[in-house]
């Protein structure tokens, strides 16, 4: 699975405005909603669902990244977007460090295998220090898109 298969590039946020976790989640869900990727879904309700999931267990995996995600009936296929914060967000991460890169993933309810494949692709790259560094340093949406497309071509990035 490639980033281009599930990341909605039009909804990338290169500089998140919010300074807190819930605000960041709301910004990213709203971005997907505005470009029509959440169909007839209720934006507020989806935001609440993601926050509820995040409260159950943090998706802040350490090393400055968080991957909030839910399964939701509004999507037929996995859709994701990326947000970058230069100030760093408290996500109650495993390593208690602030988060600079957030990948929000909304998966369909009836395709657990696809969700796992997306997670595999995301973490394969997030594992790479170089990828995390570039993601954190990309100041424009186009730069983030370029990085993701490059990662799709280069498994070691």
């Amino acid at each position: 699975m490639k980033f281009a298969d599930f990341v909605c590039f039009e909804a990338i946020i290169p500089e998140l405005k919010a300074g807190d976790r819930d605000g960041v989640i709301a910004e990213l869900v709203s971005a997907l909603y505005k470009v029509g990727r959440l169909g007839k879904g209720n934006c507020e309700e989806i935001i609440k669902t993601v926050i509820k999931r995040e409260n159950e267990a943090s998706t802040g995996m350490g090393k400055g990244v968080a991957v909030p995600h839910v399964k939701h009936k509004v999507v037929k296929d996995v859709v994701a977007t990326v947000g970058r914060s230069s100030i760093g967000i408290d996500f109650s991460s495993l390593d208690k460090q602030p988060v600079y890169s957030v990948i929000l993933i909304i998966s369909p309810v009836d395709n657990p295998d696809k969700h796992l494949q997306v997670m595999e692709s995301v973490f394969k790259h997030l594992q790479e220090e170089k990828f995390r560094k570039f993601l954190r340093q990309s100041e424009k949406a186009e730069e983030i898109e370029d990085l993701l497309r490059e990662a799709d071509e280069n498994p070691s990035l």
Partner: protein, 107 residues
């Protein structure tokens, strides 16, 4: 010769077990976290592999890379003094408790 004997007493215990993912949603983040939590209760090194990758069973990022769907068979290898206990606990979590999640319906 004495050195040799000392080395032997420090020899690592290595245990390996095959497990199959049985919960319907597979090894998504919550079960992966449970796995890592259990793995971290032990001193030994733990490696988990599917056919393609060997990953650190104590790292949530690496465990998330396995994309282990329901029915996937994994190998859990532990190296260290408490390897046997670790392997037993992890096998129980995956195969018997199936991460306290539903298994697929047979219909």
């Amino acid at each position: 010769m004495k050195m040799q004997a000392e080395e032997n007493t420090l020899e690592k215990v290595v245990c390996e077990v095959g497990v199959e993912i049985k919960n319907a949603d597979g090894l998504h983040m919550r079960p992966a976290m449970q796995f890592v939590d259990v793995a971290n209760q032990f001193e030994c090194d733990i490696t988990v592999s599917n056919n393609e990758n060997d990953v650190d069973g104590k790292s949530i990022m690496q465990m998330s890379m396995l994309a282990a769907t329901c029915g996937t068979k994994l190998k859990v290898k532990a190296e260290g003094a408490d390897a046997q206990r670790a392997v037993n606990a992890l096998r129980e979590l995956v195969e018997e408790k199936h991460f306290d999640e539903p298994v697929p319906k047979n219909d």
